[in-house]
């Protein structure tokens, strides 16, 4: 092993690297061989076998061969096999890059992947095989692109997007149009210039030029995502460039079809132009509409999934994909449909689904989009090697230069106009980054690939030029943007930890501004936003969100989310089985009064009491679950996932742990609770109500699990569970806490050690703990599976 003698600090990386390279080589071999076997016309042993089998079937009297114990039949599986190999290659490459930190700091991943693609393409070509046409339209547009766009759309930060929508639209629509016509026109002019020796460039008509220009003028979301994710730029710039790359799809679609249609004919009339404009609106708005419809359908479906949690993520994915396909069916903008679908369905779906489903969706989307992106860049490299190429110095260099120039002029000009309408103006630095971030990518290449050779004799030249531009933008601009961002001291992304104060005050200010606008008689931004919110709250939420969650105000949801995160942190840091009982619930069976915050006299506060058998079950489940969650501490990191609550400072934990221990002491004194006949505790509404949240009418769900509270699938990110937990902590925190020498590291002492002073309280705590824990590990198909897991010491 290469690394066995290296010092400890390198001990991990070197052997891994060596192994990785080895594996990669093996796989390359593996990929080349089957390709060879598949496409070679020689008679291989398998053919012989097949022939012989056929002969036998036909009944000819051929000599009987021995029964083939082991046979090779590659044709049978070759397509899925190759696909899997490619995916595996892509993933291994990704792994490999991150093992070499220095490299990935300097060079963005997209560049490395293209290089790998080049290598692989070269290898394949050396082996004499035909490179699979991997960037042809079917594969790319139907399989590789949707996951990336869905990922982007689902996690699109709505508020900054909407706030800057005008700017984004300006850049996307007007900017792309400007780019297309500027580049197309000037290219045509350049081509027409006849130097001493007329080249075949002169044959280039205006329309193909414009078509080429429209393909190349669109900023590519894949490339932008890939590069911008690594530079952690501030939210405004990110959303501007990224939003532009998403929304310019509509323009591209229309221009592409327009010019492609008429390139054969050779002329475009004014009528066609007008129709084109109308088509643009149809394409854009139609795409959004299709997406929104599917989004609402998905949200509505998710309302009913409380009994079949396992397939919840599937709905999200399938509805979104259907939206994309439906839009493509009508030649509408599939990208915009996907974005609309994801953005529309997200708030409602997230209110309905369980925590585990939420995590699943998040990780699946990140995983798919990650793999897709990797594959796209690798294929780009492979396709570059394959060609077909036709290099023409003039054309290519002029294209590259024009792209840059057009972008800069476009951004500067548009910003000048936009700044007249913006409250927060775009500075020169911002403009520079926006212009510099206009990367082109694989979409342009694929669109060009789609062109038919008979209509476009210059297709190969186009391809070469596009590849050059893509390489230029991705390599040069992609590599230098990070140092430039540092150099120009552009504001970086702030850590998104919102405090409750911010949330309260932001809402307050929203109301304030709405009021002021109303007083001024001005129907501005806030007015419409307020109206939309009201409409949303009154009608839409009722339809699309299941049960009680529809009435939860946003502030409360946010607050619960925060509390939940904290509670999870607490648990993971060693919160212990002995979490204090939930505070005084305000609800007994009689106490539920619709619409009035119950006065909640202290005497009525009660803790339901659990029968002993249940306690045992609960404790067992708790142990196993807590253990599992602790092992899950390390977070997966694509490049940026949502800031992980698990990875916060440890000091907080210790402090809270102290407080919590204080609390335990307090619990030993809490011996005098009235008990209420245990209400069927598994209804989410009841448990929520128990913890003093919703005083409104609830419906009792039948208990379908042996253990109580397992049904509580509040385990969605906005669960109200932890409210009272934190209450207790806070109250405990008010006291002076001394450092106890109770062991803090050990949480999972088996309860039989008899440290429980108070059975009901303990059970309560256990139940609560479980409820929290349930949020982390939502009951899958059956809760029983949990109980079977051995307790890992």
């Amino acid at each position: 092993m290469p690394g066995s003698h290296s010092p400890a600090s390198f001990g991990k990386s070197l052997p891994e690297r060596g192994l990785l390279l080895l594996v990669v080589l093996v796989f390359l071999e593996g990929s080349v061989l089957p390709l060879g076997a598949a496409s070679s016309p020689d008679i291989s042993p398998q053919d012989n076998n097949m022939d012989h089998d056929k002969d036998e079937v036909k009944g000819h009297n051929i000599t009987k061969k021995a029964f083939p114990v082991l046979s090779v039949d590659y044709k049978h599986i070759h397509t899925p096999f190759e696909i899997s190999l490619w995916v595996l290659l892509a993933s291994l490459m990704k792994l490999g890059f991150h093992l070499i930190p220095r490299l990935s700091n300097i060079v963005p991943e997209s560049c490395l992947l293209i290089v790998v693609g080049l290598l692989v393409g070269g290898l394949i070509k050396l082996a004499g095989e035909k490179v699979p046409p991997v960037l042809d339209s079917q594969l790319f547009f139907l399989c590789l692109l949707p996951p990336i766009i869905l990922d982007a759309g689902y996690f699109l930060p709505i508020r900054p997007f909407m706030e800057n929508l005008g700017t984004i639209l300006m850049f996307a629509v007007v900017g792309t149009l400007w780019n297309a016509f500027f580049i197309g026109g000037l290219l045509y002019a350049v081509c027409q210039i006849q130097p001493a020796n007329p080249s075949n460039l002169n044959q280039l008509e205006l329309l193909p030029c414009l078509l080429f220009a429209s393909i190349i003028s669109a900023v590519d979301p894949v490339a932008v995502l890939a590069v911008f994710e690594e530079i952690h730029i501030n939210e405004l710039l990110h959303i501007l460039v990224f939003g532009e790359s998403l929304l310019n799809d509509a323009v591209t679609v229309v221009l592409y079809h327009l010019f492609e249609e008429y390139s054969g004919v050779g002329t475009v009339t004014v009528l066609d132009g007008i129709l084109g404009v109308i088509c643009f609106f149809v394409v854009a708005l139609g795409g959004v509409l299709v997406g929104a419809i599917y989004g609402i359908l998905a949200a509505f479906t998710s309302r009913f999934t409380s009994h079949t949690r396992v397939i919840e993520p599937l709905f999200v994915f399938v509805y979104s994909y259907m939206a994309y396909l439906s839009a493509e069916l009508f030649h509408l903008s599939g990208i915009m449909a996907l974005i609309a679908c994801g953005a529309v369905m997200r708030p409602y779906v997230e209110a309905n689904i369980s925590h585990k489903s939420h995590t699943t969706i998040k990780y699946f989307l990140k995983m798919w989009s990650s793999v897709s992106e990797t594959l796209i860049f690798i294929f780009l490299g492979v396709a570059t090697v394959e060609g077909p190429h036709s290099w023409n110095w003039t054309f290519v260099t002029v294209t590259v230069i024009l792209c840059l120039v057009a972008r800069v002029i476009g951004v500067v000009g548009l910003t000048y106009v936009i700044n007249k309408f913006r409250i927060v103006k775009l500075t020169t630095k911002d403009q520079f980054i926006i212009a510099y971030g206009g990367l082109r990518g694989a979409i342009a290449f694929s669109l060009c690939y789609l062109l038919r050779k008979d209509h476009f004799p210059m297709r190969e030249m186009f391809l070469t030029a596009i590849i050059t531009v893509i390489f230029f933008t991705v390599f040069v601009q992609g590599m230098t943007i990070k140092p430039l961002v540092e150099l120009l001291a552009v504001k970086k992304k702030q850590e998104a930890k919102r405090s409750i104060n911010e949330e309260i005050h932001t809402q307050f200010l929203d109301h304030l501004l709405t009021g002021i606008e109303d007083i001024c008689g001005h129907y501005g931004h806030h007015h419409w936003k307020d109206k939309l919110n009201r409409f949303n709250k009154k009608y839409v939420k009722k339809c699309l969100i299941a049960g009680e969650r529809s009435k939860e105000p946003q502030l409360i949801a946010f607050y619960h989310k925060m509390e939940m995160k904290q509670a999870i942190e607490l648990v993971e840091s060693g919160g212990g089985v002995k979490l204090p009982a939930a505070v005084p619930s305000t609800v007994s069976m009689q106490n539920i009064q619709p619409k009035k915050p119950p006065p909640a006299p202290p005497a009525e506060r009660a803790l339901p009491q659990l029968p002993k058998g249940r306690e045992e079950e609960i404790r067992k489940i708790l142990r196993s679950n807590l253990q599992r969650t602790r092992q899950r501490l390390r977070s997966y990191n694509r490049h940026t996932l949502v800031v992980d609550p698990y990875e916060d400072g440890l000091n907080d934990f210790l402090l809270k742990k102290q407080r919590m221990i204080e609390l335990e002491k307090k619990i030993t004194e809490m011996n005098n609770y009235l008990t209420v006949p245990a209400a069927p505790p598994d209804s989410p509404t009841i448990s929520r109500a128990r913890l003093a949240s919703d005083p409104q009418a609830y419906s009792v769900k039948p208990m379908s699990d042996s253990v109580p509270t397992i049904q509580v699938d509040l385990a969605s990110p906005q669960s109200p569970d932890s409210v009272n937990l934190m209450d207790e902590f806070r109250r405990a925190g008010q006291h002076q806490h001394q450092d106890d020498d109770e062991d803090r590291g050990l949480m999972m002492k088996p309860p039989s050690e008899g440290r429980r002073p108070n059975k009901p309280g303990e059970a309560e705590g256990a139940k609560d703990q479980q409820r929290l824990v349930r949020c982390l590990s939502d009951p899958g198909p059956s809760a029983d599976e949990d109980e079977d897991e051995p307790f890992l010491p």
């Binding site: 409250i423 405090s499 501004l513 501005g524 619409k595 009035k596």
Partner: protein
């Protein structure tokens, strides 16, 4: 805006107001028209009831506080200059304002906006947002949908987060600090009042 000069003459103290607040003549006229619309009885000043003409304010959870903010403590009426001065706070910030330390900070600066918001919380004007005041605001915003306990815990947590000097209330400095990540210039500006 050919009519602006003649319309401007109708407006009391127009010049002075423009100087003070930085509004353009067109805006002053527009605001005056609005003022007159609200002031149905043509008394030249507004009373709290006149704001009732704005129907949306009734639905606004802090509508009454906003109305109250127009009236200085103790006064029952507000005349046009005061009306304009209050609204001036919501003008977008002038980025290229000369940083002249001798000049008083304009009322629509970030600090000015924050002060206005702070005063809306701090009804008794003691310079701090006490827990009770915060609770009042929360109750107004969240209404009937949450229990008292939840409100308490939210208020507790908010104060805990923001209160740096442990006096169980939020002073202006603490208020400002808790909002340092929020783009107040953007959030508290009304575009058309530029």
């Amino acid at each position: 805006m050919g009519s602006s000069s003649s319309a401007l003459t109708r407006v009391p103290q127009a010049e002075q107001l423009m100087q003070e607040t930085g509004f353009s003549p067109a805006h002053i006229v527009r605001l005056f028209d609005r003022f007159e619309f609200l002031d149905k009885e043509r008394r030249g000043e507004l009373r709290p009831q006149d704001f009732g003409a704005v129907k949306e304010l009734a639905m606004n959870p802090i509508g009454d506080r906003i109305i109250g903010a127009f009236f200085p403590p103790g006064q029952e009426t507000v005349d046009f200059p005061s009306f304009v001065r209050v609204l001036a706070r919501f003008r977008p910030v002038d980025k290229n304002r000369s940083r002249d330390p001798t000049q008083p900070e304009p009322v629509n600066s970030r600090t000015g906006k924050l002060k206005f918001a702070f005063q809306l919380y701090d009804q008794d004007r003691d310079g701090k947002i006490s827990r009770a005041e915060l609770l009042q605001v929360l109750r107004a915003m969240l209404g009937m949908q949450v229990t008292e306990e939840q409100l308490q815990s939210i208020a507790d947590r908010a104060i805990q987060e923001a209160d740096l000097d442990q006096d169980d209330a939020i002073s202006f400095e603490e208020f400002r600090k808790s909002l340092e990540k929020v783009n107040i210039d953007h959030k508290m500006s009304i575009r058309f009042l530029r």
